[in-house]
Amino acid sequence: MAYGRVGEGILKELEGIVGSEGVSIRPEELYCYSRDSTLFAFKPDVVVRPKSTEQVAAILRLANRDRVPVTPRGAGTSAAGSPLPVMGGILLDMSAMNLILSVDLENQTVAVEAGVVCDTLNEELKPYDFFFPPDPASSPACTIGGMVNTNAAGNRTIKYGPTRNYVLWLEVVLPTGEIVQTGSKTLKSVSDYDLTRLMVGSEGSLGVVTKVGLKIVPLPESYATASLVYDSVGALARAAARIRLAGIVPEMLEFMDRKTTKVAFEYAGVKGLPEGNLLLVDCGGSKEAVSVMLKKCVDLGEQEKPMHMEQTTDTAYREKLIMARKAALPALARLRPSTVLEDCTLPLSKLPEAAAKVEEIPRRLNVEGLDLGNFGHIGDGNMHPTFTFDERIEEQRAAFFWGLDILYKEIVLPLGGSLTGEHGIGLIRAPYIELEHGSTAVELMRNLKRLFDPNLILNPGKGKGGPYPLRRE
């Protein structure tokens, strides 16, 4: 059965639901909404900006009736192609649903609409000395709805875990238009199948998240940060492993390779460190505790003979270092016209081996103009190898896809890793999902998708519920 088209009739009905100011078929908008931060581009037929759950429900009932594809989008910061409307149809821009509904300090919870930006929420919580810990690099722009759908994690995962750990309940509109609330407003509940966790990381394939209940936690009293610069990524990875093995849980245990560190420091204005591979160790807690913890981390890191080590408790300098680390991906765009990052995770013991093999990929591809920078959350085994090239040159574009094959088929999966730690399958990793999970598990996921979405209208063509149009075999 083919998907329905967005014709005049549907447009009028959409305008009836959200008003004409919330519907656009302007070619300029369709172009702007056709991209995320991958190199794929798919235009929707129409962009709709709902402002309430009821409007979302009405849109989905309409879409389900006429089998029109619907692709939800938060801030479009995805690095996986998840918010791209592969099959056209309705692009549901959720950024207008951006109210912080409640801050309940007594119960240490907040309720927000899906379009609230991560950093905006934390700015709101800061005066109360509380925060929502997941800290993706895109936190200045990404929405809570997007974070839920990707189970976003980021720099502080080693200590606090990913978004999943903080989602207490969700309000979700099913593809058939019904509104459901999953989970509970209490901090503990096992009264349902864990529908909340099923939704978290589902990449907008099972329902449209409209409201989110989150746990929040107190901010650490103080921080102390160390920068250790190594000549090789291998030594850096071994230093990180020593810290993990010692049972120390810093706030952040992050890394950037030589190329990435150079451009990220240039952006953030960090000066005075020698060129090399950076291990960033950030400890949080009481003043006494962070001092002791950081010293232990530094002692362990020094066993791998860094070229340089420095410590700081200066807030402004710490913020610069973190800004550099968070901006690693877009900073790499200073080098080449196209920048695409990957999101593999590995068993901690395999990180040094994997990092060394990843570093070899450009040499193996041997295509002029294509290179690779690597950075990530080494404390939790999550690397973001990032290809830099020019997508307009066919040889480089083809080499990039070949590089993905090497990364996943020859490095990540044979070493027992996973395709994605916090960005999702989306489009870019869709060709590899069966290699990780096997055909039976993938078929089970597809059947689960059909249970929620019998007409396969919601974010079709990608993610865990496939089908996968980008399969290249």
């Binding site: 656009s24 070619p27 300029e28 200073r334």
Partner: protein, 390 residues
């Protein structure tokens, strides 16, 4: 010399480098008034790409989005990929003008400046009306040779609500005993409004006129009280004229220097809580953040409180980028936001260093019937020096 009016095609690689990370959306002052992706800096880069790739047409919709930008430079500063967003948007405005899709107000501005060499279209004799405010006409000897040349700019010269800035600056200069002069009716608009409008092709002649007039008077240091003039003299004129032959100071920089030399002294205790708003064109565009703060900190009785977003993180007050002419409602809302920020830090006075910021923030104060006072840095200095303008 570099050409000041760039073609859109010059920005092909810039917009290609935008990898759509979205960092620029976070604090873009105008995006949330539009809401659609095309109203964000990232969206504008995508639209320019679409125009270059033939995926979109040059039209009124594109013009609406390009002129809904305050050119505040936040996105430029924020962009990790180093995309020259504001230059690209200015080039898009030039492109829209060349194709005839610019807003009508742009032609009005161009006409006023073209006919009368000032933003307001008034006669050149009116340019020195502010001198009367000083009450000391003989202090300002128009056209005499002097080492320091004060360039008040159009807003402080012609707007009755901003003339105090020019008057205060002249009184301070006089009180400091420096040898100074003005171009008087020989002063032309610096060209900044045209650079921001998409009419940058006309700026070369204006730059040449002003620079030649300053050279004729033997000016070695040009002092501006307008952040826009300062940006134009320091960033844009050197792209047109290789060697200006004089230094350019914003008045706050000159006053800081005088402070260091022990020449600038204050005689009055003000006993007020003050916050400082960084004008985009003085702060993010040209990096002058500290001199106004240093001056304020030296004035007895001033309690200086910072806005939550200050220095390079400052949110535009809406007074720049010709937003006040093209989208006055958005400009006013931005100023009201700024006023709310000032209220949150319990400031009694907002001080800025640009007459355009002063005008727009004053409009927000009037519209909100708020007791907060709006002063230029020169006005509060004159007040602390017990000069007559305040």
């Amino acid at each position: 010399m570099a050409v000041i009016n760039s073609s859109l095609t010059d920005f092909r690689e810039e917009v290609q480098r935008c990898m759509r990370c979205g960092y620029c959306r976070a604090l873009c002052p105008t995006w949330d008034f539009v809401g659609w992706e095309s109203g964000s800096p990232r969206g504008r880069m995508q639209m320019i790409k679409a125009l270059l790739d033939g995926e979109a047409q040059t039209n009124e919709y594109v013009a609406d989005r390009m002129y809904k930008c305050a050119l505040c430079g936040y996105c430029l500063w924020r962009c990790p990929s180093g995309v020259k967003t504001t230059d690209a948007i200015k080039a898009a405005r030039d492109h829209l003008v060349r194709r005839g899709y610019h807003l009508r107000i742009i032609d009005e501005i161009d006409g006023r400046i073209g006919d009368n060499h000032n933003l307001y279209g008034l006669s050149k004799e009116d340019r020195t009306q502010w001198i009367a405010l000083t009450g000391l006409d003989d202090l300002v000897k128009t056209g005499k040779g002097a080492e320091i040349l004060f360039f008040p700019g159009c807003v402080a010269s012609f707007s009755s609500r901003a003339m105090d800035v020019a008057a205060a600056t002249s009184q301070i200069l006089d009180a400091l005993g420096v040898n100074w002069t003005i171009l008087g009716d020989e002063e032309w608009c610096c060209g900044n409004p045209l650079l921001l409008s998409g009419k940058s092709g006309s700026v070369k002649g204006m730059a040449e006129h002003n620079v030649n007039a300053i050279r004729r008077l033997g000016g070695k240091i040009v002092v501006t009280s307008c952040a826009g003039c300062y940006r134009t003299f320091t960033q844009d004129y050197p792209r047109i004229i290789a060697n200006l032959g004089f230094q350019v100071y914003h008045v706050s920089q000159l006053l800081e220097k005088m402070l260091d030399q022990g020449k600038l002294k204050f005689s009055k205790d003000l006993d007020v809580t003050v916050t400082y708003h960084d004008p985009c064109e003085l702060g993010r565009h040209t990096g002058v953040y500290e001199p106004p703060r240093r001056i304020l900190q030296e004035i007895s009785g001033i309690k200086l409180v910072e806005l939550p977003n200050n220095r390079f993180l400052t949110r535009c007050c809406g007074g720049g980028g010709i937003l006040k002419a093209t989208n006055p409602e958005i400009a006013l809302k931005l100023a009201q936001r700024k006023l709310e920020e000032a209220q949150r830090v319990k400031a009694e006075i907002i001080v800025s260093s640009c007459p355009s910021c002063k005008l727009n923030l004053s409009d927000a104060i009037t519209a909100s019937e708020d007791p907060t006072q709006m002063l230029d840095i020169t006005e509060i200095v004159a007040w602390a020096m017990n000069l007559k303008v305040i």
